[in-house]
């Protein structure tokens, strides 16, 4: 297959808008008569609300409206099974930062003064601040009134294949415990939303990754039909999963606009962004694996305990994700997974880049590293021996199509010189691999409709593509324009785009789970090919030849320019609009919980980290990172590289410094100065290799690019620290304090390790046993693609 624009490192379609400061983000909007909204938030981690007195605040001049939970009583939440949030809480608060009241005022200062003038009487409850506490009986009362015993939210226990038999066959069995600390997205742009209410219709512009889910939540809570609500994604200042839930402030400004009849805007302060959160879950993990003498895995048992914070958010899915993708990189013939998510009095956790999978990936990679040391096998060799093969099903029913693990490993091995690495003191190298989804195979709320739809309109030579997809900086607009341009023989800049607007664009479920290129891309191909067929038919009729004789490319359709072709087709067919859509294949296994994990295709990555670690101070200097990513096909290699480099950066921050941690119910560092993230000075050179395996189902063979390459970085860093200093850091972030403590233990003859000592006793339910898939399950479909 040859391409004109696909595969070229072209400039983003919004590049000039962004470098000139002309992109309009939600907080840049300030229509006439805009009211400013501020939200009063709980100062207590856990308390009952006895009373809320807003009378003094209402008397302040410039205050136009104040609302509390009684005004927005209907609960919402991203998952249908956990509708547990209110835009404003009037009965109980569950974390410091839980919203209680909201004010619309003529000036932001007046709104802030009105917040101060509201008096709330609380009955303080004992806060639950750790996984261990959440597993015990609550001293006062539980945080949420649903879920398992005590403060348990969700319990899962699944077994695939003969795990007992697998362990019995093993020559060596090893157990390890790991902890992955929580961290947050820290987008540069604070969340912002602005709403108007005109002629009985709400319009909301928001910094969101999911206009569709915000649309649904607004409809539910405001009790308005969806056709009375319009949600528009403003230019987006970074999400990384942090803007993937419907948020309280989006509902609040809509309600305040309805009450006041004026535009109402709310931009969260940076401190509030740390409370909105929905970031990486802290996860405790226990893993037991059996291997043969040669290092082949015979069975694996994986346990996780997630600290979910105060609400459900994506937590049920996150819980399943901590156990789902282990099998997608390594051939595990028998696998048991037990997962548990608890509620604690902290900001709710949710999806951050890699959603629920970087934590188990960290544990799995280091665990296999340790097994290889036990057996005296090179860790890279041991992992390679267990790599999954393309076109297979895993024991937990996940369908693997293309798989570039071998090639990715080869690339980073040879470029980094890992096998020939030097042995100077304090220097180390580490290797790890990973995989991620190209979109979730099932929708968040159960339905059989397409996950993405695209319309292409041509008139008088102009081309416009319409799609609900939200460009959050990853470049989905550029991908859409490139695909439509490729099919119509144009350049991406020739294609106008209308995106992420629930009134004018057909649905796309949103920018999460690395789904947009794959799903909107396939929908765009279908819509553009239908348009191309109309143009070709019209030109062929004019030329009096077969349609097969018409070549498309270079701005021409046969002998006609694109403009002439569009006139011919418009004359022949009338208005020219075509549509395409994408629905993922139904490949989920026949068991409860099988909806989390299946994806139409998986990306693969391999990574080598080179670092120096100082045994006196514990300081780590990362020298270089090599990363290879199997992206299927790079529709725009420049954008793919940017996604890979950004993922590596974020993974490095999680590995070495980032943590969302709490003391006595309070966030330890809700500011960008104190929450440490890598600066220009901390970021090493990154050498990126794009591996193309041309997936049978991806658009032109493309798979995901923006999440998978984060995952191997934390375990590769910790493997390199072991290589450098001979100590295992079994929890991230691997801070200097932890490294120094592990070295101290090593010197004293204790286990040379820093990490959790025990995994708590969790009341997992009886295990549901699932038969592995039959051998030839996908044979028919695989041979047809």
């Amino acid at each position: 297959m040859t391409f004109d624009v696909v595969g070229k490192p072209l400039q983003r379609v919004d590049a000039v808008t962004k470098v000139t400061g002309r992109a309009i983000y939600a907080d840049d909007m300030l229509p006439a008569r805009t009211l400013h909204c501020r939200i009063l938030r709980s100062p207590h981690p856990h308390a009952r609300i006895v009373s809320i007195d807003t009378s003094a605040a209402r008397r302040l001049p410039g205050v136009l409206a104040i609302i509390t939970g009684a005004d927005l009583p209907i609960k919402f939440g991203i998952l249908p099974v956990t509708q547990d949030e209110r835009a404003l809480e009037h009965e109980k608060v569950r974390y410091v930062g839980d919203p209680i009241a909201a004010i619309a005022a003529t000036e932001e200062e007046i709104a802030a003064a009105a917040c101060d003038a509201i008096s709330v009487e609380y009955e303080i409850l004992d806060p639950v601040m750790s996984i261990e506490e959440a597993l015990e009986a609550p001293k006062d009362e539980r945080i949420q009134d649903y879920g398992g015993p005590h403060n348990i939210h969700k319990l899962v226990a699944l077994e695939f294949g003969d795990v007992e038999g697998g362990f019995a066959r093993a020559d060596h069995v090893r157990e390890d415990i790991f902890f992955f600390q929580g961290n947050t997205h820290l987008p540069m742009e604070q969340h912002s939303a602005i709403a108007t209410y005109v002629d009985g219709r709400v319009t909301l512009w928001s910094s969101t990754q999911v206009v569709h889910y915000v649309h649904r939540a607004l409809s539910k809570v405001l009790e308005l039909p969806m056709n009375r609500i319009r949600v528009i994604g403003a230019a987006h200042g970074g999400g990384f999963g942090g803007k993937t839930d419907p948020f309280a402030h989006e509902i609040i400004v809509s309600k305040l606009a309805m009450l006041t009849g004026r535009p109402v805007k709310c931009t969260l302060t940076r401190e509030e962004v740390f409370y909105a959160h929905r970031g990486r879950h802290p996860v405790l993990m226990w893993v037991r694996t059996g291997v043969t003498r040669e290092g082949l895995i015979t069975a694996m048992h994986f346990r996780t305990a997630l600290d979910g914070g105060a609400y459900g958010s994506y937590g049920v899915a996150s819980t399943f994700y901590t156990g789902a993708l282990q099998t997608v990189t390594y051939d595990i013939p028998a696998y048991r997974f037990e997962g548990c998510r608890v509620f604690t009095n902290k900001p709710p956790c949710g999806p951050k880049r890699g959603h629920g999978t970087p934590q188990p990936r960290f544990a799995l990679e280091l665990h296999l590293e340790k097994i290889s040391h036990d057996l005296g096998i090179d860790p890279v060799d041991l992992k390679r021996r267990n790599f999954v093969k393309p076109m297979t099903r895993t024991v937990n029913w996940l369908r693997v199509t293309s798989c570039g693990l071998d090639e990715c490993t080869e690339k980073v091995m040879s470029a980094s010189g890992y096998a020939r690495r030097s042995r100077r003191p304090g220097h180390g190298m580490g290797f790890a691999i990973s995989s991620y989804l190209s979109g979730a195979g099932t929708a968040i709320y159960w339905n059989d409709m397409p996950h993405s739809e695209v319309q292409v309109k041509v008139d008088r030579g102009g081309v416009t593509a319409y799609c609900g997809a939200m460009d959050i900086g990853q470049g989905s607009d550029s991908v859409l324009a490139t695909i439509v341009a490729e099919e119509l023989g144009l350049q991406p800049a020739d294609v106008r785009l209308v995106t992420a607007d629930t009134d004018t664009t057909p649905i796309d479920l949103g920018s999460y789970s690395s789904r947009v290129t794959f799903m909107a891309g396939n929908a765009a191909i279908e819509a553009a090919r239908k348009m191309r067929a109309l143009l070709v038919e019209a030109v062929a009729a004019k030329q009096g030849c077969e349609v097969s004789a018409i070549r498309v490319g270079g701005g021409r359709i046969g002998d006609a320019s694109f403009e002439q072709a569009s006139e011919l087709a418009e004359t022949r067919f009338g208005g020219l609009t075509t549509t395409g859509s994408y629905t993922p294949p139904k490949i989920a296994g026949p068991f409860k919980g099988s909806g989390v994990g299946p994806s139409p295709a998986y990306s693969y990555s391999a990574c080598v980290v080179d670092l120096d670690a100082d045994a006196r101070t514990g300081l780590v200097q990362v020298n270089k990172i090599w990363i290879a990513h199997d992206v299927g096909r790079a529709i725009n290699p420049l954008l793919v590289q940017g996604q890979v480099e950004g993922s590596v950066y974020m993974g490095l921050g999680e590995a070495l410094m980032e943590e969302q941690a709490f003391r006595k119910g309070l966030h330890k560092w809700p500011s960008m100065l104190d929450y440490k993230s890598p600066t220009f000075l901390d970021m090493p050179e990154v050498e990126t290799f794009i591996v193309e395996t041309v997936d049978p189902e991806g658009p032109y063979g493309a798979k995901e690019a923006g999440q998978g390459p984060l995952l191997p970085v934390p375990p590769a860093v910790c493997a390199a620290i072991y290589d450098a200093l001979g100590v295992w850091i079994d929890e991230v972030p691997a801070t200097p304090e932890k490294i120094v403590e592990a070295l101290r233990r090593k010197t004293k003859g204790e286990p040379a390790r820093f990490g959790p000592a025990r995994f708590p006793t969790v009341p997992y339910p009886p295990t549901i046993k699932v038969e592995p898939p039959p051998k030839n399950l996908d044979h028919a479909s695989a041979s047809s693609i």
Partner: protein, 164 residues
């Protein structure tokens, strides 16, 4: 009542020189340069990430030097030359830094980009061919969460080469 409250806020008349244009403004004395640029002058190209001087997003140039507009009061700045991202291009022609950022994908979400462009412009004016470490040092106060910084470093080097 509203009038009384507004009267409590001291307002000042001042003249600001922004992107080579002098503008007379009547603004509350406590408003930051960031707020005045965005809300009173409609120059929303200058973004904010924290409004506490921590992230570098709101960087503008004052007499050619990078400053955090969230920490400045306009009354300090009369008769000083302020440059924002809107003042970088010459007419429709992009500044070489803007051109290089666009070509190399150095802007993803684009939110930190205006501040980084201005920090880079200031650097190149004092050091026409900076080393990579000098660029890192000069930009250490500007956070970016999308790019991993690599493409930004490459773009600044490309622009420096073209400007030299």
């Amino acid at each position: 009542m509203k009038q009384e409250m507004l009267r409590d806020v001291e307002r000042v008349v001042l003249t600001l020189d922004v992107n080579g244009e002098r503008t007379e403004l009547l603004v509350p004395v406590h408003k930051t340069l960031l707020e005045v640029l965005r809300e009173d002058m409609g120059l929303t190209g200058t973004k904010h990430g924290c409004e506490l001087g921590e992230c570098g997003t709101c960087t503008v140039l004052v007499d050619g030097k990078p400053e955090l507009s969230c920490l400045l009061l306009p009354i300090q700045l009369e008769h000083r030359a302020i440059t924002t991202v809107e003042g970088l291009a010459s007419g429709s022609e992009l500044h070489p830094l803007q051109q290089a950022f666009a070509e190399l994908g150095a802007a993803q979400c684009g939110y930190c980009t205006p501040g980084i462009l201005l920090s880079a412009k200031s650097l190149l004016e004092t050091n026409a061919r900076p080393s990579r470490d000098e660029i890192r040092e000069a930009l250490a106060g500007n956070l970016c969460r999308c790019t991993g910084y690599t493409k930004i470093l490459e773009a600044i080097e490309l622009a420096a080469g073209r400007m030299a």
